[in-house]
């Protein structure tokens, strides 16, 4: 375990964290402003991955395929918002969870019908399939670097939007005091739709970027959904800044756990036990992190409502 491995794993963690951030940002805004729990956010992520994989097959241009995928995912998000989610804003969380769980069931079948039950391959564009020598002895896959770059750009763009535009101001106002914002005469319905579609766009980018790294398969978003929820809970619901920091934290903790935990345990216990317990303990780390954070700060690190 030398310093190069640590740097490499750290970068993997940051990459995972940024993907989680793209999922969590949409979730946390929708939850913070509309007080709405959208389990189907993972389905938008899945659609993003499928759209991008298909578009790349047709257009043969990675940039174009990501753009097409984001546009289509935004469209899917708009349809979802107008047909269903709009009617759930004033409902209980329980209602929202159950109805959007129904959406997951429909989306998974829809994807299975269109693309088939087997995972599809999302090809890495040839120009990005090599690796880049960052340091002497550290070759890092170019595509993973792109993920990090896209994630950072998305985070900066989102920060700029939240801090310096009128829409961002409305979002922040809505997250900290929804009723008051409405009483100030803000066209809430329109803002809600825009925010939801924005969240869908981020999920779409996340899915499109994640496609070539993991298997594009039915229900792939659901496995990102729980870590993303862990992120928004650690960060404090409604807070983009909190989501960003928590996403990096969860990404790094999870990756480091998987990379180093078995070896660490092997030093104090027999290799057999380490092989059994290591991966399990690594998978559990982010939940432990969440529970520790909640034990100290019951509303997350950066609560938006204060």
């Amino acid at each position: 375990m030398n310093s190069l491995t640590i740097i490499e794993q750290l970068m993997n963690g940051v990459g995972l964290g940024l993907i989680l951030f793209m999922m969590a940002a949409g979730l946390t805004i929708v939850f913070g402003v509309m007080d709405t729990m959208n389990l189907a956010h993972g389905s938008l992520f899945m659609f993003g991955a499928y759209f991008a994989a298909t578009a790349y097959g047709i257009t043969d241009s990675f940039t174009l395929s990501v753009l097409i995928s984001v546009a289509l995912t935004m469209l899917a998000g708009a349809i979802l918002e107008i047909l269903l989610v709009r009617r759930l804003y004033t409902r209980t969380h329980m209602n929202q969870v159950v109805a959007t769980f129904g959406v997951i069931l429909i989306c998974n079948d829809l994807v299975k019908y269109i693309w088939g039950p087997a995972p599809i391959m999302a090809a890495t564009p040839p120009s990005l399939s090599g690796s880049v020598t960052l340091l002497d002895g550290l070759d890092y896959p170019a595509f993973r670097l792109l993920i990090i770059a896209v994630g950072i750009v998305a985070a900066i763009a989102l920060y700029f939007m939240m801090a310096h535009t009128r829409l961002g101001m409305l979002v922040r106002a809505g997250a900290s005091n929804r009723t008051m914002t409405q009483l100030m005469g803000i066209p809430v319905r329109k803002v809600f739709t825009i925010i939801f579609v924005l969240g869908a766009a981020l999920a779409g980018i996340g899915g499109a970027m994640m496609g070539p790294v993991t298997a594009v398969q039915v229900g792939m978003g659901d496995s990102f959904m729980i870590p993303a929820m862990v992120v928004i809970v650690i960060g404090g619901i409604g807070s983009i800044r909190g989501a960003f920091i928590a996403a990096l934290l969860v990404g790094i903790v999870d990756t480091a756990g998987r990379a180093f935990m078995p070896a660490l345990i092997a030093q104090v216990a027999s290799p057999v036990i380490a092989a059994d317990v290591g991966p399990a303990l690594a998978s559990v780390l982010m939940y432990v992190l969440m529970i520790v954070v909640l034990a100290c700060k019951p509303t997350g690190l950066f609560p938006a409502r204060g």
């Binding site: 939850f31 129904g102 069931l105 429909i106 998974n108 809970v233």
Partner: protein, 329 residues
């Protein structure tokens, strides 16, 4: 008033019990033996969702980790079987007790949080149980555990005989249902509902709210553990996928569909969901979307669940000020 509806329809539960008790004879007569097992699975599911309904509907504890307790119960039973116990009664008792202890420890942590944070904490613990189960190579790890030791009921009865086990499960189902119904009407149950609606006031009135909620959480979860042990006895198999969060979500969906906070709500939901899940896959490969659509339609048109449509039972859902505030928001 709740009392009136209970009296008018007092014959319904009785008819239900008679139908359920007669079902094995019926299915044997028509050569549908397979469905005895199916109805038994349904009854175990009903025990589990009744306990979840108590937590969600009456306790206001929106927990997304119920499958975790099913898992603790099942794996506790596995451990006890491996330790040499073969009496089903002892195994079920042990599994329930171990789940109760686990729920008490978990409850100590999760009950300090509220709302979405509570939901996520319960989910986190269920996921931990999931990963522990995956890492338990002694008990099959990822592949699950197949029960190979023959179990006994004592008195010459054989739990491997479907009809015998069916009778025991039916009795357990009736007892569990009656137990929760008595409990929600008891002083304890009313206090729990009071804490759900206004914890601050209940605390000011001198109720030890944390302790009471913990007790309710332990009772609800322990029954899920018992359900897990029963599933294990019937199927002779447990795998970690049972504990996955989607299963917890499914249980939640069942309660919400049937009617959260209604005595018969969870039973109705489990019946509907169980039957659809059994028969839809026989019709089409794409059986998820009709269920999804049904879930969405029910939530849109019957926000309090199906039982709310047919029942005049006064809603035990939290209402009043809270709903008023939501409507304004």
């Amino acid at each position: 008033m709740p009392g009136n509806t209970t009296k008018t329809f007092a014959w319904v539960p009785l008819l239900g019990i008679i139908l359920l008790a007669g079902f094995p004879y019926f299915s044997e007569f028509f050569g549908l033996d397979y469905y005895t097992g199916f109805v038994m699975r349904l009854m175990i599911l009903m025990i589990i969702v009744t306990s979840l309904n108590f937590l969600l509907g009456y306790g206001g504890m929106i927990a997304l980790g119920h499958a975790g307790f099913i898992g603790i119960g099942s794996y506790a039973m596995v451990a006890l079987v491996e330790a040499g116990i073969t009496s089903v009664w002892l195994l079920w008792l042990g599994a329930t007790a171990i789940t109760a202890i686990g729920a008490a420890l978990i409850g100590l942590v999760v009950l300090r949080t509220r709302g979405i944070y509570f939901l996520m904490s319960t989910l986190a613990f269920a996921e931990m149980v999931y990963y522990v189960a995956v890492s338990l190579r002694r008990y099959g790890g990822d592949d699950g555990y197949i029960l190979s030791t023959p179990l006994t009921f004592g008195f010459g009865f054989d739990p491997m005989d479907t009809n015998t086990l069916y009778a025991v499960v039916l009795a357990a189902f009736i007892l569990a249902f009656a137990f929760f119904n008595r409990m929600v009407d008891s002083r304890f149950g009313k206090t729990i509902t009071g804490i759900r609606d206004n914890p601050v006031r209940m605390q000011a009135l001198g109720y030890p709210t944390f302790k009471l909620q913990l007790q309710a959480f332990v009772i609800g979860s322990a029954v899920a553990g018992l359900g897990g042990a029963m599933m294990m006895t019937q199927n002779g198999f447990i795998s970690p996928t049972t504990i996955h969060w989607t299963h917890s979500a499914e249980l939640m969906v069942i309660v919400a569909l049937g009617g959260m906070g209604y005595k018969w709500g969870a039973i109705l939901g489990a019946g509907l969901w169980g039957v659809l899940k059994e028969f839809l896959p026989q019709l089409t490969e794409y059986w998820h979307w009709p269920m999804g659509l049904l879930v969405i339609l029910i939530i849109l048109f019957a926000p309090n669940g199906l039982w709310a449509l047919v029942s005049r039972e006064s809603a035990t859902q939290s209402g009043g000020l809270f709903k008023f505030i939501r409507r304004q928001a």
